[in-house]
């Protein structure tokens, strides 16, 4: 089993701060720029990278990530290219964990076995597949764990204590707590409820718990990082990237637009428990 994720969470805990998990869409706005962003993320302060696998029908995503996926697909991004990008990133950076996040159909069409083999070869550490609940574990989760790739599961406000053990059963790497019932980029109604839920989940598992959906600024990162072992930021980065484009094309400021925001967020997580 890949151990980079566990090591990175442990290192952050040692520093007394939550990990910053950043989501960017592979191929957004074009494969070359996307690769530059990927390479620049660790330097800007990202502890763990979620690399989006674009899908034509992202049912759990809000407009920010939908648009990122559309830009990526329009630029010709495919799952093969995403894996190639991770491979080249891994050649430069042996430590930063990379988690692929997306939907099941592209993986299913790629072929689960060959996808896992290629993902292992590329140096992928984990997978988050939104539309694969525990009830469908045989599809990808069990084979992924057998191949040595972490399968990170989402838990949500609707996952009650009765269901939680089933959700946590085959989860590894970390637990991704979805801060609200909704789509990515929505508004969190109650900060206190999120903190309470994180503590509740931690009562059921030793895995690190990261909070995502709705975290946009360094202040948010500082607030939610108090209780959680990690904070995930995605929509805000996709929006920053989107607003740096001109006529849909990358500009000189595109990479910086993302890294500047990541630097701010990195300072936020460092303030969380200060």
């Amino acid at each position: 089993m890949s151990t980079r994720i566990a090591e990175r969470f442990a290192a952050c805990a040692k520093e007394g701060r939550p990990a910053l998990v950043t989501f960017v869409m592979s191929g957004d706005p074009d494969p070359a720029t996307s690769e530059k962003i990927l390479a620049a993320l660790p330097g800007a302060g990202a502890d763990i990278i979620e690399f989006g696998m674009p899908f034509s029908d992202p049912m759990a995503d809000g407009p920010g990530i939908q648009l990122a996926g559309q830009r990526a697909l329009a630029s010709g991004q495919t799952l093969h290219k995403t894996l190639d990008q991770v491979k080249r990133f891994r050649a430069m950076d042996a430590d930063t964990p990379v988690v692929l996040m997306g939907y099941y159909n592209p993986i299913y069409i790629y072929g689960v076995e060959s996808f896992l083999a290629d993902a292992v070869a590329a140096g992928v550490d984990g997978l988050i597949v939104v539309d694969l609940p525990p009830e469908e574990d045989d599809e990808l989760c069990i084979p992924a764990l057998a191949a040595g790739i972490n399968f990170i599961r989402l838990t949500t406000p609707t996952t009650d204590d009765k269901r939680l053990p089933a959700v946590l059963k085959n989860t590894s790497g970390f637990v991704y707590y979805v801060s609200m019932n909704g789509i990515t980029g929505g508004a969190i109604k109650s900060n206190a409820a999120v903190g309470e839920s994180v503590r509740r989940i931690k009562g059921h598992t030793d895995l690190p718990v990261a909070v995502g959906f709705g975290i946009k600024t360094a202040e948010d990162a500082a607030i939610f990082g108090r209780d959680a072992d990690g904070v995930v930021v995605g929509t805000a980065l996709c929006n920053a990237l989107g607003s740096s484009l001109e006529n849909g094309k990358a500009t000189a400021g595109t990479v910086a637009a993302v890294t500047t925001l990541v630097e701010g967020l990195a300072s936020g997580v460092r303030r969380a428990r200060a």
Binding site: F55, S56, D57, P58, M59, A60, D61, G62, Q66, L73, T78, L79, H80, Y103, Y104, N105, P106, I107, Y108, I109, Y110, V130, D131, L132, P133, P134, E135, E136, R153, L154, T155, T156, P157, T158, T159, D160, R163, V167, V178, N181, G182, I183, G186
Partner: protein
């Protein structure tokens, strides 16, 4: 007929406990929705076992929908085709004008049992939206309908009907603005309002138990056909034909006949520009392959990277599954139902996609040539295709196209 009880391997079994029909079906949804879907399954099982619920569905079917719908012997079409006796199952005579109400009644009663206070639904051409808006008005529940912006523009009359019934219609601009995108947006709304909202899916799609529920509620169509054919002909039909858009009409028609091996079953999909042309048709079963979308594994039109294609059909509801899935929308009890809108005697120009107009021109040229050829050697089968006026030609095209797979013959009512 062999007694069902002694038949060991019925094709009517399923789904299994995982909601699978063989490799198809399943529950491919985000975790937020899983607890709700498990609750829904429990509620449905409890309702099925409750005679009061079963009776209420039946009662409303009879007195509100107007069931049973007639099985009509289409004498002129039978004569024209010169072969089989053709019967139409007249689902368009139901209240709201389609088979969609059968399913909506069953599901809204379930939603009420579950204590849900808000209903959402997706719609392509608008028939399911109208049926949902109708049952919501009947039971006093607020209703939001998601409809692709492209479909909103080309299906105005149904949008008005939904609004008159008190529904909020949200035009979805994401993607191509058709049914697939409407369903994505409905799922996004559902995930956001999961506590109080019931998602009333109208097609044989979505996570388990939706395909099973839609099948069960629509099977009344096939069950009636069976009984009515026995009265009319004293035997089962030799063949069933239903168009395949999203799937509710076809599965409802076919399911009661699946174990009757003497009955041939035909599904007609929208052929668009031809099934060899990528993204140029809406034949997900003939020209697609299995994939996972909207909560279930089914036949999808998709590219080599697993991205879902929009597909092409001049019928909104066929593009539905064009893009997405693999089940149908209208019935011929031994033939095909031609259905025309009371509000639209002619096809509005706007409903012709540019490609479709081109297809039509090509078709007209081909037909003209066939007419010339036929004048030398008359052929009964193609006789009515001689028509020259544009309107008549379009009407004929509607019919012949339905047969040859050009379009869903229930347009614009799927």
């Amino acid at each position: 007929m062999i007694d069902d009880a002694i038949r060991p391997n019925s094709l009517r079994n399923g789904p299994d406990e995982q909601g699978r029909f063989g490799q198809f079906g399943g529950r491919f949804v985000a975790e937020t929705l899983m607890p709700l879907i498990l609750d829904l399954e429990k509620a449905y099982r409890a309702a099925q076992a409750d005679p009061a619920y079963v009776e209420e569905v039946r009662f409303l079917g009879e007195h509100y929908t107007g069931r049973p719908s007639p099985l009509y012997f289409a004498e002129r079409l039978t004569e024209h085709l010169g072969g089989a006796k053709v019967y139409f199952k007249r689902e368009e005579l139901n209240h709201t004008g389609s088979h969609k109400l059968n399913n909506c009644i069953g599901q809204i009663l379930l939603a009420k049992r579950m204590g849900k206070t808000r209903i959402i639904a997706e719609t392509g051409a608008g028939q399911h939206g109208v049926a949902t808006a109708t049952v919501c008005a009947r039971f006093g529940l607020p209703c939001t309908i998601f409809m692709g912006a492209t479909d909103v523009a080309r299906q105005r009359p149904n949008v008005w009907r939904m609004k008159m019934l008190g529904a909020e219609v949200r035009a979805v601009t994401a993607g191509a603005g058709t049914l697939k995108d409407a369903m994505n947006e409905a799922l996004r709304d559902w995930v956001t309002n999961v506590e109080d909202t019931y998602y009333l899916i109208g097609t044989a799609a979505g996570p388990h138990p939706y395909p099973e529920m839609v099948r069960d509620f629509q099977s009344v169509v096939g069950t009636e056909i069976k009984a009515q054919m026995l009265v009319a002909e004293g035997k089962l039909p030799d063949a069933l034909v239903a168009c395949v858009g999203g799937g509710s009409n076809a599965i409802g028609t076919f399911h009661p006949f699946l174990d009757d091996t003497s009955v041939k079953i035909y599904g007609a999909e929208a052929g668009g520009h031809g099934i060899d042309i990528e993204n140029g048709h809406a034949s997900s079963m003939t020209g697609g392959r299995p994939g996972v979308l909207h909560g279930n594994r089914t036949y999808l039109l998709q590219n080599g990277d697993g991205q879902i294609l929009e597909g092409h059909s001049i019928s909104p509801a066929s593009t539905i599954r064009a893009s997405a899935r693999s089940t149908p929308s209208c019935t011929i009890a031994a033939a095909l139902p031609t259905r025309r809108s009371p509000t639209r005697k002619r096809w509005p120009r706007s409903s012709f996609a540019r490609g479709s107009r081109a297809s039509f021109r090509r078709w007209k040229r081909r037909m003209a040539w066939r007419c010339c050829k036929r004048s030398r050697r008359p052929c009964a089968r193609t006789r009515p295709l001689c028509c020259v006026s544009r309107v008549a030609a379009i009407r004929t095209w509607n019919r012949s196209a339905s047969i040859s797979g050009w379009r869903c013959n229930e347009y614009p009512y799927c």
